[in-house]
C-alpha cells in the first residue's frame, strides 16, 4: 500500500504528464522539446513509488540524509534541461539571423529587378 506522500508524488506527476501530453496534442511544444519534458514529468512518480532502490543507492553512496539524493538528481535534471534548451535556442538564433540576412538580400534583388523593369524616361 502506498503512503500519502507517494500518492502526492503520483498525482503531481500525473498532472504534469497530462499537461505535457496536452501541449504535445495541441502542437504547442515541438517534437525536439517534448521528450525531455515528458521524462521530467514522469520522474516524480517513479521515484515516489519505487523508493527503496533509491534509498539503497543513497546509502551505497554514503549519503546520510537520503532525500538529498533526490535533490541532487533534481538539480542535475534541471541543469541538463536548461543546457539542452540553451542549445536549442542558440540553434534557433543562428537560423533566425541567416533567415533575416537571406530575406534582406532577396528583397534587395527583388527591388533591383523591379527598378530594371520600370520604364526609364
Amino acid at each position: 500500500m502506498l503512503e500519502l506522500y507517494q500518492w502526492v508524488a503520483v498525482v503531481a506527476s500525473g498532472a504534469a504528464t497530462f499537461l505535457v501530453v496536452e501541449l504535445i496534442r495541441r502542437r504547442r511544444i515541438q517534437h525536439v522539446l517534448w521528450l525531455p519534458w515528458l521524462f521530467a514529468a514522469l520522474v516524480p512518480a517513479v521515484l515516489g513509488v519505487w523508493i527503496r532502490p533509491w534509498a539503497k543507492l543513497a546509502r551505497f553512496l554514503g549519503i546520510l540524509y537520503q532525500p538529498l539524493l533526490l535533490v541532487a538528481l533534481a538539480s542535475l535534471l534541471s541543469f541538463a534541461m536548461l543546457l539542452y534548451l540553451s542549445v536549442v535556442v542558440s540553434s534557433l538564433i543562428r537560423k533566425n539571423l541567416v533567415l533575416a540576412q537571406e530575406l534582406a538580400l532577396l528583397r534587395s534583388r527583388f527591388d533591383e529587378a523591379n527598378r530594371r523593369r520600370e520604364p526609364t524616361g
Binding site: L97, A100, Q101, L103, A104, L105
Partner: protein, 237 residues
C-alpha cells in the same frame, strides 16, 4: 569596390558619411546595411546616394556586416570595404588600405588607430581592451595586430568569402581576424585617423566593454584549443 556601412539608428551621421564617400576622387559604391533602425537611417542613406540593404529586425553588428559582405560578393565586387556608420572613420584613409590589397600585399587590410596614434583617441577602457586583445592574438595565434577591434578594413574576394562563411554575431572583429589567419589570408595593418562620432550614441558602455573583453578572451582561448584539436585530428588522419 563597395563600401559597406553597418548602421543602427545613425540617421544623424549616415548622410554626411555617404556624401563624403561619393565625393571621393575614386568613389566606391556605398551600401548601408540598416540593422533594423527605428529612425530614418535607411531613408537618409538612400537620399544621400547609398544603396540600402535593410535587415527586417535588429540582428547585431556581426550579422549586419556579414549581410553586407554577402551582398558585395553576390554582385561581383573585387574589393569590399567596411567603415563604421557613425562617421568615426575618415573615408579618405580608405585609399591606403585599398592600395595594399590592390598591390596584392594583403588579402585583408586593417585600419589601425594605434600605429601612429593620429586623430581622435577612444576611451582608456577601450584602448586597454584593444591592447589586451593584441597581446592575446599575438600569444595565441602569432598575429601581430595593433588594433584588433578596428571596424575599418578592405578585403579582397578571398578574404570576403571567409567572412561570408562564418562571422561571429556579436563583437566579431577579433574572432574574424583569427578565422582569416587560419584560412591563410594575409593580414596587414595601415595607420588611420579616427574622428569623434558625428552623432548618435555608442552601443558599448563600460559594462558592455567588460563583457566584451571577457567574452572575446574566452572565445580566443576556445578557438586556440579548437585549432590544436583540429591539428591533432589532421595529423592522425
Amino acid at each position: 569596390m563597395v563600401a559597406v556601412l553597418p548602421a543602427y539608428n545613425e540617421a544623424s551621421s549616415i548622410g554626411t558619411l555617404v556624401a563624403e564617400l561619393v565625393r571621393l576622387d575614386d568613389p566606391p559604391d556605398v551600401l548601408v546595411v540598416d540593422d533594423g533602425s527605428t529612425d530614418d537611417t535607411a531613408q537618409v542613406a538612400a537620399h544621400a546616394g547609398a544603396r540600402v540593404l535593410a535587415l527586417p529586425f535588429n540582428c547585431g553588428i556581426g550579422a549586419t556586416v556579414q549581410a553586407g559582405v554577402a551582398w558585395g560578393l553576390e554582385r561581383g565586387y573585387s574589393l569590399i570595404a567596411r567603415l563604421d556608420g557613425d562617421g568615426q572613420h575618415d573615408p579618405h584613409t580608405l585609399s591606403a588600405l585599398v592600395a595594399l590589397v590592390e598591390a596584392d600585399r594583403a588579402d585583408f587590410a586593417l585600419g589601425s588607430r594605434y600605429l601612429q596614434k593620429k586623430g581622435f583617441q577612444s576611451t582608456l577602457m577601450r584602448r586597454l581592451g584593444s591592447h589586451w586583445f593584441a597581446l592575446l592574438l599575438r600569444a595565441l595565434s602569432g598575429l601581430r595586430i595593433t588594433d584588433p577591434t578596428s571596424g575599418c578594413w578592405v578585403a579582397n574576394r578571398r578574404a570576403a568569402a571567409v567572412l561570408r562563411a562564418e562571422y561571429a554575431s556579436d563583437y566579431p572583429e577579433v574572432d574574424s581576424l583569427i578565422r582569416l589567419a587560419r584560412s591563410g589570408c594575409r593580414i596587414r595593418e595601415e595607420p588611420i585617423a579616427m574622428r569623434a562620432r558625428a552623432g548618435g550614441r555608442s552601443s558599448i558602455d563600460a559594462v558592455r566593454a567588460i563583457y566584451y573583453m571577457i567574452k572575446v578572451t574566452i572565445a580566443l582561448v576556445i578557438g586556440r584549443v579548437e585549432e590544436r584539436a583540429g591539428g591533432s585530428a589532421g595529423g592522425d588522419a
